[in-house]
Amino acid sequence: MKARPIRDSRQESAVFVRRAIIGFLLILVALSVLASRFWFLQVVKHRELQSRSDENRILTRPLAPARGLIYDRNGILLAENIAAFRLEVVPEQVQDMESLLADLKLTIGISEDDLDRFRSLVKSKRSYQSIPLRLKLSEEEIARFAVNRWRFRGVDVVPYLTRFYPRGKKLGHLVGYVGRIDAADAERLDASRYAGTTHVGKTGIERSYEELLHGEPGYELVEVNADRRPLRVLERVAPKPGRNLYLTVDVRIQEAGELAFADRPGASVAIDPRNGEVLAMISVPSFDPNLFVNGISQTDYNALLNSPDKPLLDRALRGSYVPGSTIKPFVAAAGLELGLRKPSDTVMSTGEFFIPGQQRGYRDVRAGGHGRVDLVQSLAQSVNTYYYALALELGIDRFASYLARFGFGQPTGIDLEGEGSGVLPSKEWKQARFGKPWYPGETVISGIGQGFWVVTPVQLASAVATLSVGGIAHRPRLLHATQQGIGDAPEAVAESQAQPAIFRDPANWHAIREGMIAVVNGPTGTARTMGIGFPYVIAGKSGTAERYSRTTEAWQHISQVAIERHQVLFEAFTPAEAPRISVIVALEAGRGGGRDAAPVARKMLDAWLIGEGQAPSPPASGTDHP
């Protein structure tokens, strides 16, 4: 060993002890700093970090309620929920969304529409929420996905309930359809109530009774691990299913009517005049609502959209029809009730009517005129001159304000969205619409339901129903009863408040009714064969409106083809003395109301009889005069 410097062991030991004590104190300081850090996290920030820990582990999963079913008034199923499978994606678990989508597209096929909808949903939902990509997978598609499943992390086939309309296009417009919630819907809907819901009512009953049909969502608190895999359910609040709806509609009447239309474009509405319940509401042509539920293909949609017959237009609710002679009973009511006519007063029909001091003539249907006619005959034979004169005497102001009482020119308030309001001709309307003054000639043609007149079928049906019970109006409605569960008793919907009777003198109404009975049952009636074999007396009125003004080129062009020249209508109710059904039928083309529209109405009345416990009668046949 080398020589070492002399060491002072005692000194070194003292230095060490000093250093060790200082070192230990510094260590204690450092540990205290560490302890204070734990105090900060575990006491000061405890609440915040506790909630973040819960956010980590607890996932709230919304549980969508089952949508309520829809039945007709007799319990025939119109909309149900059936089991199907869909593809769902959890964006959080996907590494490269675009390549995944491209890959899926090759494997099972995904349309651009699906992709667009998916992308917009990805933006609006939380990244751990499962988002539907493709609905209603076929068995083959499920199999193809299953084989390739390992490639698609975060994608899953999930069972769900989808809406199905067993009657297809027969009630397409009326029941409507549900469709996937899109960005516009998402803005309108309460996000918390629709968190687990993919579909929402888009049209028809599905739309207007969305509130009842949807139900109340439930939720599940699920404990998940770091991969968001659910481990156990901590708490579960079951969803409350939507209410089942019983519509006022009788499918038998509805389908009999649709059959009778034989694809001719038009609409029909049948109402129980005692309470405003809509028994049938037909719009032809129709569409299959099932196409829309899981996303309609562009081809199908274009076909519907571009079809010249406009199958997507709900004609019953917002179709525009010139009422023509169907308006005459209402004009007659104005004349009688306002004291300008007595039922026995007669008017001479010469075939042409002139406003005093004017050159232009207004024609009757029958060349040379009907001769001298009273009220009953004016209705039975649809004598224009009677109403030209009456309208002129009433003047447009009284005319419009009286007819408004029957609901013309305004929506009926039926429980469907998007109802049209028609046009009740008036000075105010013309001024507002065209900014032009009113001419007396316009009053004259308004008297026979021509000119500016426009009605919607539901509006005319409501007016006829009101008229048929002596002027007691009920708001037309489609909801008969609701039901919480299949086993529960249906709860009837409160009847709408009846309005006071429009007719002050029942004799006036009886005279008009007599005229309308004569239309169907009289020797000169315009729908003479319509009531044959029917057990009840039918009262009615035909309408044959010109589709084009006689002065236009279009008139010259098609005037040879009578069927294309006219919109034809028919209104009826039965039994005439105490009506239980009133119906209107509008066809967009036809020879005459009595000839083409009345048989459709008769078919519907026949179907109605079945519900009344009556055997169906032999179908009405034969032709009629317009």
């Binding site: 060490f16 540990l31 850090r37 575990q42 481990l231």
Partner: protein, 371 residues
């Protein structure tokens, strides 16, 4: 016969009076090991196999501790240069031929997979103590220069593996020996200032993953699903434990696997989540007691070598606790340093207990304190 019995009786008595083991320290270590096992068992979601494996390692470490405690410090001192040279040689070998990924290099010795860097946790303070023992104290510049080389070369090799945590612990154990040898405070100040000025250069030489860890420490929320995930989830685990904790095996953060590495580097988070601030304070007190008791043993050591070695081992133990605790509470960057005797893993438990074996040996040869 009588004489033999009398001799035995004497030895028994002397063992009771002057036990080779320091009982308070041994008791504290036992308690810590039991806490570690209980936390392990909870963090592994009641995996008995894992608890047994850890218990076996602790047992192995304890046997090693007993064996080392029988070796007199003078013998250790004589072996020191050879042990140090051997461990550095192995370190060079592992750097050249070793296998293993990233921060976990080991030499495959057929039977045990073995990290030479662990050896240096013990041989480094031995070598520094040995060197200082030969030189006048407090150390002068030339001593410091020599010691710096002894510390820097292995530390650099380990950091290059890259295993920053172990490099830090190895370097710290050497530096603590220098500190305890009485290096002048102004020299410490000078070193600290120059070290701080070298920081930017160090940053330049750091691996990208190491830099990212520092960046993540500064703003963990900037990358909540990537590098920040560890820190964020650990803080949530600690903070959600609150004052009293969620209770044993009720820590959702670890049980539901939000907390990564929850049996190894982040076991302290599990402990804090389940036992709350009260548990953390008690655990820190236990560590403080072990460090304090170890320093007490060092102060009573017979010679300078023993004193410096025991002191360096004691203070290095503190570095484990500080770096691990600082990491899981989000005040220090994520560095792979285990919580001593609690984290799962064999090598650190064995090397730690071997260190305590050295302490026990020094304790057995302590100065006779006049009472």
């Amino acid at each position: 016969m009588n004489g033999v019995l009398a001799n035995l009786g004497y030895r028994l008595k002397s063992m009771m009076r002057r036990p080779r083991f320091d009982l308070p320290l041994a008791g504290a270590l036992l308690l810590l090991a039991l806490v570690g096992l209980a936390t392990q068992y909870s963090a592994s979601d009641l995996d008995l196999d894992q608890a047994y494996a850890q218990a076996l390692r602790l047992l192995l470490g304890t046997v090693l501790m007993i064996v080392i405690s029988r070796i007199p410090p003078s013998t250790l001192r004589n072996w020191t240069p050879w042990l140090f040279a051997g461990s550095v040689l192995l370190l060079v070998l592992v750097t050249l031929l070793g296998e293993g990924r990233g921060a976990n290099r080991w030499l495959d010795l057929r039977i045990v997979r073995f990290q030479p860097s662990e050896l240096l946790k013990l041989t480094m303070p031995m070598m520094v103590a040995w060197t200082l023992n030969l030189r006048p104290l407090p150390p002068n510049w030339s001593t410091l220069g020599l010691v710096s080389v002894l510390i820097a070369v292995p530390a650099f090799l380990i950091a290059e593996q890259p295993d920053l945590g172990t490099a830090l612990l190895v370097a710290a154990s050497g530096l603590f020996a220098v500190y305890l040898a009485g290096i002048a405070w102004w020299r410490i100040g000078l070193v600290v200032v120059s070290a701080a000025s070298v920081m930017p250069v160090a940053w330049h030489f750091m691996h990208e993953y190491q830099r990212n860890r520092v960046r993540t420490l500064l703003d963990p929320e900037s990358d909540p699903l990537g590098l920040g995930w560890h820190i964020i989830q650990s803080k949530i685990a600690v903070g959600s434990g609150g004052l009293w904790g969620k209770g044993w095996h009720n820590g959702t953060q670890s049980r539901l696997e939000f907390l990564p590495e929850h049996t190894t580097d982040f076991i302290f988070s599990v402990f804090a989540e389940e036992w709350g601030l009260i548990g953390v304070l008690l655990l820190l007190l236990l560590y403080a007691f072990i460090i304090g008791r170890s320093l007490w043993i060092a102060s009573n050591a017979k010679d300078t070598y023993s004193r410096l070695l025991a002191g360096a081992i004691s203070m290095a133990f503190f570095v484990y606790v500080l770096v691990n605790g600082g990491m899981i509470s989000g005040i220090l960057p994520v560095v792979g340093v285990p919580l001593p005797l609690v984290s799962y893993g064999g090598t650190s438990a064995v090397s730690l207990l071997a260190g305590f074996g050295v302490l026990m040996s020094i304790h057995a040869q302590r100065r006779r304190v006049a009472t």
